[in-house]
């Protein structure tokens, strides 16, 4: 499906069509006629037919819809915006976040806060990072604005817990070091566009 289909937000002219219904009868005679016609045409039985057909499809056609959720999970879109996740640098394992505070600035729910400090290596170090999930609306702006692709949304949508805070501890949000190899780039908001190379104006280098 091309992107144009998504861009067309005019619902009225898509695949919808109006049912051609007869006008509702107003007179007693008209109503009687309607009952008579519907009874003779056995419209009620159509409903029964449809339901029993679906039942046979389900039982014998292998078209049962149920997913046994905790045991089976449906695949979610890679762009799904669930609980946040912090990525690491693949080479060093150091967290990518540079503490620039853009996510904090852009957050429309005002739920992100960063503490930074000057560390021994003369770098900006993120000493703490929190997201108040009570306020977060999962809009994805933080991931979109992040210049380092450090904060992204994960697919972790199972968010029942005793404390919301247990999802937003900086250490917990980071990819575990032993799973660094499995770390995948987030393709959603903020990701590098496929044709990014074409759009970049190259800066000359004097080396």
């Amino acid at each position: 499906m091309s992107l144009d289909n998504f861009k067309d937000r005019n619902a009225g002219v898509q695949n919808y069509r109006l049912l051609e219904l007869e006008p509702t009868p107003t007179t007693g005679w008209g109503k009687f006629k309607q009952v008579l016609i519907r009874s003779v045409k056995l419209e009620l039985l159509v409903g029964l037919k449809v339901t029993i057909r679906e039942m046979f499809k389900a039982l014998f056609g292998g078209q049962m819809h149920t997913t046994k959720y905790p045991f089976e999970k449906l695949p979610i879109s890679p762009r799904y915006r669930a609980i946040h996740e912090m990525k690491r640098l693949l080479e060093s394992g150091h967290y990518r976040c540079i503490g620039c505070g853009l996510c904090e600035k852009i957050c429309i729910a005002n739920c992100i806060r960063i503490d930074t400090r000057y560390d021994e290596n003369q770098r900006k170090e993120v000493s703490d990072y929190t997201i108040n999930l009570g306020r977060c609306i999962f809009c994805g702006y933080c991931a979109e604005v992040c210049p380092e692709l450090a904060i992204v949304h994960s697919g972790r949508y199972e968010t029942a817990s005793e404390q919301r805070a247990s999802f937003t501890d900086f250490a917990d949000m980071l990819t575990p070091l032993d799973e660094l190899k499995k770390q995948k780039e987030f393709p959603g908001f903020g990701a590098v566009s496929p044709n990014a190379d074409e759009n970049i104006k190259k800066t000359p280098l004097a080396y």
Partner: protein, 327 residues
């Protein structure tokens, strides 16, 4: 005489046990069937294929707090569910459930009381059943309950008329009120079934049967979309369970009545023995009720009344007239 009493008591207990178990099982069947029709699986996780869901529900119902609202009429509030359950089972007393069979050398007639006015007794008992919801709704001091009981009164009383009139025609044919006579009248194959002689009466009876058992599309008494739970709003736990069992027992009763009166009762069908035949027939009616529930929407109270008095009753009267002329 004492043997008769013992046999009757045993029969009563057996019928009570089996039917209430079936009523419980009915809930499972209903959930399963409705799920299948919607291409779902239904209960799956309690026991194999979720069969123990009934037990789980039972445990839940029994252990729930026995709650009576402070403004309720406590006595009536407590009695009302009993009326529903009791009348449902009492109605079954005059219904021959199976053909006669022999057990330990004794001929068992699987009917608790073979009354010569069996059909009348059943209908009368089901009519008395209206007191359950009626009193329950009025006793609980809840406006939804009141509306529920008002609907009970109009729906049950109105459709009682249609039931009676629709059954009158077959009664005229058979000339007896005993259900065993009905059964015997239809012995000898499908061709003898009353349904062929009285198709209109059959349809009218079915429709009014749905209304009498408070099933969709006529479940106005406790239509949760309009009146929360109607007469059962304040009920919970086992008291609410009583209404439930009563309703399912009534469904089974209607199934038996329809089978016995119109579809040849427990007469053997080709190679199928009579016992199995009637179970199949009753099962079909039970399934039909669920099927209809999944396919058709509720109707409005005014449509209900319009249907009863302006359509069904005149048709029933005309049917009786024609039957009278023909017979």
């Amino acid at each position: 005489m004492s043997g008769f009493i013992i046999a009757t008591v045993i029969k009563a207990i057996v019928v009570l046990a089996i039917i209430s178990a079936l009523a419980g099982f009915g809930t499972y069947i209903e959930r399963k069937i409705l799920a299948f029709i919607q291409r779902r699986l239904g209960p799956m996780h309690v026991g194999p294929y979720g069969i123990l869901q009934i037990a789980a529900d039972g445990i839940k119902l029994f252990t729930k707090e026995d709650f009576i609202p402070s403004g309720a009429n406590r006595l009536i509030f407590k009695i009302a569910p009993l009326i529903t359950a009791a009348t449902a089972f009492i109605a079954l007393a005059a219904v021959p459930l199976l053909p006669e069979f022999h057990l330990f050398g004794i001929t068992v007639r699987p009917i608790v009381a073979d009354l010569n006015i069996g059909l009348l007794f059943v209908i009368a008992m089901m009519g008395v059943g209206l007191y359950g919801p009626l009193l329950a709704g009025m006793a609980q001091e809840n406006k939804w309950g009141i509306i529920g009981s008002a609907r009970t009164a109009i729906q049950f009383l109105s459709y009682e008329v249609v039931t009676g009139l629709s059954l009158l025609a077959p009664i005229m044919l058979v000339g007896s009120l005993s259900l065993i006579d009905f059964n015997n009248y239809q012995a000898g194959g499908i061709a003898n079934w009353i349904v062929w002689k009285q198709p209109l009466a059959f349809i009218l009876f079915l429709i009014s049967g749905f209304a009498e058992t408070n099933r969709t599309p006529f479940d106005l008494l406790e239509n949760e979309a309009e009146i929360i739970a109607g007469y059962a709003t304040e009920y919970s736990g086992m008291r609410w369970g009583m209404f439930f069992i009563g309703e399912y027992a009534n469904m089974i009763t209607i199934g038996f009545l329809a089978s016995l009166v119109f579809l040849g009762g427990f007469n053997p069908l080709w190679i199928i023995p009579g016992a199995i035949a009637i179970v199949l027939k009753v099962s079909f009616f039970f399934f039909l009720m669920l099927w209809v529930r999944s396919a058709w929407p509720h109707i409005r109270p005014d449509q209900l009344m319009w249907l009863c008095w302006k359509v069904l009753m005149p048709l029933a009267v005309i049917n009786i007239l024609i039957t009278g002329l023909v017979a």
